[in-house]
Amino acid sequence: MVRLMPEAFVLFKTEPTHEREVYLALSSHEGVAEVHALYGEFDLLVRISSPNSKELSGLLMGTFRQIEGVKETQTLIAVEG
């Protein structure tokens, strides 16, 4: 079953010095609603608008985590309520 999700947030840790490339790679992606560079524990935050669960896993595993310089991701799923 493919569930529709309202939004998802993905927090990224990048390899040192790769922040900008990863930022640019993410900003040019169609499924991405906004990208922000961050101070602190995580380096980047991405908001994905209305993915379904299949698109989300595709984006995460097939796209985001394949970007060179991505070290770690954490996904937060928004829910209706």
Partner: protein, 79 residues
């Protein structure tokens, strides 16, 4: 234009998700908020012209809300 953006991840006391969420609606600098499943219960997007306004909003308004248990703030940087 200079702009400061932050995301605040929140854990609420059990059963307080709804009231914290309604309270967020009344905070001017909160441009959007979402309920989450997992480690955090809510995420709010906060936007201001200056960073000090962002800090004031997070410290004096969001973190003072009844029902908030813990917050973690992600501050936007310029690349």
């Amino acid at each position: 234009m200079k702009m400061a953006i932050g995301f605040v991840l929140m854990t609420t006391k059990p059963g307080q998700e709804g009231s914290v969420r309604s309270a967020l609606e009344n905070i001017d600098l909160v441009t959007n908020h979402w309920m989450l499943f997992g480690q955090y219960d809510l995420i709010a997007r906060v936007q201001a012209d200056e960073e000090y306004e962002l800090t004031r909003c997070i410290v004096e308004e969001i973190r003072q809300l009844p029902g908030i248990q813990e917050t973690k703030t992600l501050i936007g940087a310029e690349l």
